[in-house]
Subunit: 146 residues, 2 copies
């Protein structure tokens, strides 16, 4: 029986996808992609860089930024701008969702509302537009009671 590699659910094989598109799969890129596919938080470039260096001492911050731009172009990752500060990234593989940011702790909580998504499309339609993408962020505090 021939060996068959199976990509784990939610972790599409971007490496294969890139090489299919004629883009080189280099060592730094592989390391960065691994970090992005294995994390479930929203790290910024510096944090991705820190994690990458632990795998490959020679990776540079420039390459992290370049790779983020490359992957974003591919739709492989999403770029966020929570509050102020540096851009933060996340693997685009999972289902679409929006974010609730805890103003006290900085925690990012993911949520999804089909009703809100539908209303957004409805509103855009009424204004004569098709939505390409959107950004919904709620900033809040834990309810007083806990």
């Amino acid at each position: 029986m021939a060996k068959r590699q199976k990509v784990p659910a939610g972790k599409p094989d971007y490496v294969k996808e890139l090489s299919k598109a004629g883009i080189r799969v280099t060592r730094p890129r592989r390391v960065i992609i691994d970090i992005l596919t294995e994390t479930d938080d929203h790290p910024d470039a510096m944090e991705i860089f820190r994690r990458a260096v632990q795998v490959d001492k020679s990776i540079s911050l420039s390459t992290v930024y370049r790779t983020m731009k490359l992957l974003e172009g591919f739709g492989a990752i999403h770029r966020h701008a929570f509050g102020s500060g540096p851009a933060r990234f996340e693997n685009a593989a999972g289902e679409h969702h929006d974010h609730l940011i805890d103003l006290d702790t900085g925690d990012v909580i993911e949520f999804k509302s089909d009703r809100i998504e539908a209303l957004q499309a409805e509103i855009a339609q009424a204004l004569g537009y098709d939505i390409v993408h959107h950004r919904l962020e709620l900033y809040g505090r834990k309810k007083a009671s806990g």
Copy 2:
């Protein structure tokens, strides 16, 4: 009959508000506040600076930035981050609304949906949070049809 100054609807008297709060109402601040209350678009700091210079040649960009921070702290203006690029500001006086950005032209269209606002609060509540503020931006293109 005593002269009674009436603030035009949607243009609260921030000048008075500031001086009441013990903050100096200086010439540069007055100029900048006037610009913000008289415009209905979403200018960035450089654009506000350009408009301010036409009124008072000596105003500096630093003061524009400082005044934006001051007014934001007062809740007098909102700071936006549409797409990438510099922050953009708008007078907070009007009713709350969200934005649809035309990806082709950069046009910013304002809209308001009570249903979306209600859903947001509902979602936050379900997650154990009270919303302090939120950001909803739709990015889209004019529907193909004319």
